[in-house]
C-alpha cells in the first residue's frame, strides 16, 4: 500500500509538471520512494534509507532545468533551485529555506556513508539527532518527518506560481485614497470647526475655478475672511493664481469629486 511519502511525492510530481510544464524528475524515483517507506531497525537500514533519500535529490531533471536556464549548475539540487528562482523571482529566501532540508540530508549522508565530518554537526542539530547516534529508528523518524514537511513546503512554494499579485490600478487607487485621507485628517480641525471652510471648498469643487472676490459674494463674507479660512488648503486641495491687483483665481485641479462628497470621506470611514 502506498504510504504518505509516496502520495506526497506523486502529488508534487504532477503539480510541478502542471505549473511549470517541465518534469521534476529525470526519471520518477519509484524505487527510492518505496524504500523510504520501509522501517529502520539498525545502522544498515538507516544507511540504506539515507542513500535512497539523497538519491532522490540526485534524480531531479537537471538536464531539463539547465536547458531552460541557459546555464549549467553543479548538481541536480542547485539546478532545481536555480530553476525555481527564475520561476518564482519573489520567493528566493523561501526557496533557500525549503531546500535547506535537502542540503542537510547531503551533509548527513556524507558523514554516515563516507565518514566525512565536515559540518556534520549542523545536520545533527537540524534534524535534532542526539550524538552519539545510537537510536537509528528515532533518527530515521526525524528525517522522514523533515522530508514529509519538505514535500508539503515544496508544494506550497510552487503554488505561488499561480498567485495573482495585486493589480497596479488597485495599488494606485488605494495609495491615493490613503494619501487623501491623511490630508483630510490634517485639515480635520479646520473642516470640523469651520463649516464655512467645508462649504467654500465644495463650492470651488463644483465650479472648478472661481475668483476669490466672487466666492466672497456667494458666501456673503468679506474676501479677507474667505482667504484666511482657505489659506491652509493652499498646500493641498486648492491653487491660487493672480487675477487682478485685488483678486485671485482659486482652482481645484484634482480631487473635486471627493471634495463634493466631503461628508462621506469625513464620516463613514476613519
Amino acid at each position: 500500500m502506498a504510504g504518505t511519502i509516496h502520495t506526497r511525492t506523486a502529488f508534487l510530481t504532477s503539480e510541478f509538471l502542471h505549473l511549470f510544464g517541465l518534469e521534476l524528475w529525470n526519471k520518477y524515483p519509484a524505487e527510492q520512494v518505496t524504500d523510504l517507506e520501509e522501517d529502520v531497525a539498525g545502522r544498515d537500514a538507516f544507511k540504506s534509507r539515507l542513500i535512497s533519500l539523497s538519491g532522490l535529490f540526485e534524480a531531479f531533471n537537471k538536464k531539463g532545468f539547465d536547458r531552460s536556464l541557459g546555464f549549467k549548475n553543479e548538481g541536480a539540487r542547485l539546478s532545481l533551485v536555480a530553476f525555481l528562482k527564475t520561476q518564482l523571482p519573489n520567493h528566493h529566501p523561501q526557496i533557500d529555506d525549503v531546500f535547506r532540508t535537502v542540503s542537510m540530508v547531503s551533509l548527513l549522508r556524507a558523514y554516515i556513508v563516507h565518514s566525512k565530518n565536515q559540518n556534520y554537526k549542523e545536520a545533527f542539530q537540524f534534524f535534532k539527532i542526539p550524538e552519539p547516534l545510537t537510536d537509528y529508528a528515532m533518527a530515521w523518524a526525524s528525517l522522514k518527518l523533515h522530508f514529509e514537511l519538505f514535500l508539503a513546503d515544496f508544494v506550497a512554494l510552487i503554488a505561488n506560481k499561480n498567485a495573482v499579485p495585486i493589480k497596479q490600478v488597485e495599488l494606485e487607487s488605494s495609495s491615493i485614497e490613503t494619501a487623501l485621507r491623511y490630508t483630510l485628517q490634517k485639515h480635520a480641525y479646520d473642516l470640523r470647526e469651520t463649516p464655512l471652510a467645508k462649504m467654500m471648498l465644495k463650492e470651488i469643487a463644483v465650479r472648478g475655478e472661481i475668483l476669490d472676490t466672487d466666492l466672497a459674494k456667494a458666501v456673503g463674507h468679506p474676501v479677507e475672511l474667505v482667504r484666511q479660512i482657505l489659506l491652509p488648503f493652499t498646500s493641498s486641495f486648492i491653487r491660487v493664481k493672480y487675477a487682478t491687483n485685488s483678486s485671485t483665481l482659486i482652482t481645484m485641479p484634482e480631487f473635486r469629486d471627493q471634495i463634493k462628497n466631503l461628508e462621506d470621506w469625513l464620516e463613514d470611514k476613519k
Binding site: A82, P165, I166, Q168, S235
Partner: protein, 202 residues
C-alpha cells in the same frame, strides 16, 4: 538571490544584519540595476534605522571606508511614492513585479505642495499671538524688484521681508492672501530706507 539573516557579535556588541547576494537567477534584475551577479549587500538593522553597503569584495576597498561606499537615501518623488504604495499591502509578495508610480506621484504632488504664503512669512506670523499691530506691504525697490514685508506698527520694527526679481504676479497673489491688514503710506514710510523701496505697489 540569496538572503541570510546573521547576528554579528563583538565585544559588548550584537549587530543583526541581513546579507543579500545576487546570483545567476537574478540576471535580469542585475541588468536593470547595473549590478552584476555576485554583488553582496549588507543591511545593518537597528530598529527602524537601516544602513546599507554593497560590494563584490570588501577587502581592499581601494582606500575607501565602508562609510564612504554608502550612498545616502535622497528625497525622491519616485521612491517616496513607491514607499506609500508599499503601505497598501500586508504582504510584500502580493505586489506586482513591476510598479509604475507616475499617477500616485502626481496625486501626491497635488495633495502636498508648497503653501501659497511662504514660510518666511508664516513662521513670523506664528511668532505673534496678536496680529492686530502687524501690517503687510508690497513694494517696488530701486532695482525694480518686488518686495513683500511685514512691519510691526506698535514698536516700529521691520518683522521680515523678501524681494525677488521673478514672478511678481505670484507675489501679488501671495500678498493678497497674507492674513493681515495692508499698511498705509504713512505706516510704510519709516521703512523706506531700510527696504530700499521706491514705491508701494498698492
Amino acid at each position: 538571490m540569496r538572503a541570510k539573516k546573521i547576528i554579528v557579535k563583538d565585544v559588548m556588541t550584537v549587530m543583526p544584519v541581513i546579507v543579500l547576494q545576487f546570483d545567476e537567477t537574478d540576471q535580469e534584475f542585475c541588468d536593470q540595476s547595473g549590478s552584476g551577479t555576485g554583488l553582496r549587500i549588507i543591511l545593518k538593522i537597528y530598529g527602524q534605522r537601516v544602513s546599507c553597503v554593497a560590494g563584490y569584495k570588501f577587502a581592499g576597498k581601494r582606500g575607501k571606508t565602508l562609510e564612504g561606499m554608502a550612498v545616502p537615501f535622497d528625497s525622491d518623488g519616485t521612491i517616496s511614492s513607491f514607499a506609500e504604495m508599499l503601505d497598501q499591502v500586508q504582504n510584500i509578495q502580493h505586489l506586482p513585479d513591476e510598479i509604475n508610480v507616475e499617477d500616485t506621484r502626481m496625486a501626491l504632488i497635488d495633495l502636498r505642495h508648497r503653501p501659497l504664503v511662504k514660510d518666511i512669512i508664516t513662521d513670523e506670523l506664528d511668532n505673534f499671538t496678536d496680529h492686530s499691530k502687524l501690517r503687510k506691504l508690497i513694494y517696488k525697490n530701486w532695482l525694480g524688484h518686488h518686495g513683500t514685508a511685514l512691519i510691526d506698527i506698535e514698536f516700529g520694527n521691520l518683522v521680515t521681508y523678501y524681494s525677488t526679481s521673478r514672478d511678481w504676479k505670484e507675489q501679488v497673489a501671495e500678498y493678497l492672501w497674507i492674513p493681515l491688514q495692508a499698511a498705509t503710506e504713512e505706516q510704510a514710510e519709516p521703512f523706506k530706507e531700510e527696504l530700499e523701496f521706491k514705491e508701494l505697489l498698492f
